[in-house]
């Protein structure tokens, strides 16, 4: 077991983590509120890796520096990946856009949500109709299929197969059949999409 940390060592770790967090925060141009989260993520990772410290190979400060640099690099990669997936950076809805006084949140309409950015524009009416269609479709399903749908909401096919719903291949066949059945009950692609394709 690693010997307990002295106050001086702890101060070194905190200082290094603070410096690394500030560097990363500046590099990623994140909102101010994210600095504390970054600092905490880096510090926790550093503390978890302390058992790997070999005092003969270098000081605690040097060890912390390497660990923090690697973890900062991983966080930056993850962040860039998220930005690419979202077509841009995240903005707080509580801050105004440049040249505007109103917070972004007050300028957005219902159709400006993330889903609509990806072409899945949904309104409250759509959600209401989907809910009604779902209730009607469930009412028409046999009890066994209803139980399967409910189980699929919580667990994977492999987990369901282990709970006595049949083999995985049989389950996949049932799910494929359910997809057709639910489409016929209004929970699937619309005819217009096929007619115009």
């Amino acid at each position: 077991m690693h010997p307990p940390l002295s106050r001086a060592d702890l101060a070194t770790l905190i200082n290094e983590a603070n410096a690394a967090a500030r560097r990363l925060h500046r590099k990623l141009a994140l909102p101010t509120a994210d600095l504390d989260d970054l600092r905490q993520d880096l510090l926790v990772d550093l503390i978890c890796r302390l058992p790997g410290l070999n005092a003969r190979r270098g000081s605690l400060g040097a060890f912390a520096n390497i660990v923090l640099r690697n973890q900062a690099s991983r966080i930056a990669c993850r962040h860039h990946h998220q930005r690419r997936a979202q077509n841009g950076t995240l903005l707080s809805i509580n801050v105004p856009l440049s040249g505007s006084r109103e917070p972004i949140g007050q300028t957005l309409t219902e159709a400006d949500g993330l889903a609509s950015w990806y072409g899945q524009e949904r309104t409250t009416e759509d959600d209401l109709e989907a809910g009604l269609a779902l209730s009607r479709a469930l009412a028409r399903l046999p009890e066994a299929d209803r139980r399967l749908c409910a189980a699929l909401a919580h667990r994977s096919v492999a987990a369901i197969a282990a709970h006595g719903f049949g083999s995985r291949s049989a389950l996949y066949r049932r799910i494929a059949d359910l997809r057709r059945v639910l489409t016929a009950y209004g929970l699937g692609p619309s005819w217009d999409e096929f007619a115009t394709a």
Binding site: S135, R136, A139, R140, A150, R180, T183, L187, P189, F194
Partner: protein, 112 residues
């Protein structure tokens, strides 16, 4: 009495099972869809059919789904004779059966 025009499956692309299901969902009472033209009973047989294996498989599934929809009270199935061993297979939408709605949340709670 006005007769609803028949919607035909596009000739370039045979109707698929999932497209048929989508039509069933969207159709209102009296809407008609020609889901196949030919001789269905023969065309699903590997020995006699002029269709390729994937096309025959899809036709078999489509025919089974049409029968299922009829059994569920969603459509009527009728045939129109166009010539010798040549038929138009029509699905005519029926009024949607009234069923009591089922609450999703109660289902999920029961399964949890």
């Amino acid at each position: 009495m006005a007769i609803t025009p028949v919607i035909s499956a596009p000739t370039s692309r045979p109707l698929t099972e999932i497209a048929f299901c989508a039509w069933v969902a969207q159709a209102v009472s009296g809407d008609r869809l020609e889901y196949y033209r030919g001789f269905l009973a023969v065309d699903v047989w590997p020995l006699f059919t002029r269709l390729s294996d994937p096309e025959r498989d899809e036709l078999t599934k489509l025919a089974a789904r049409a029968l299922w929809a009829a059994e569920q009270g969603l459509v009527h199935l009728v045939q129109e004779r166009l010539g010798r061993a040549h038929f138009a297979y029509l699905a005519i939408a029926r009024p949607k059966p009234n069923t009591a709605d089922f609450s999703l949340s109660s289902l999920l709670l029961a399964a949890a």
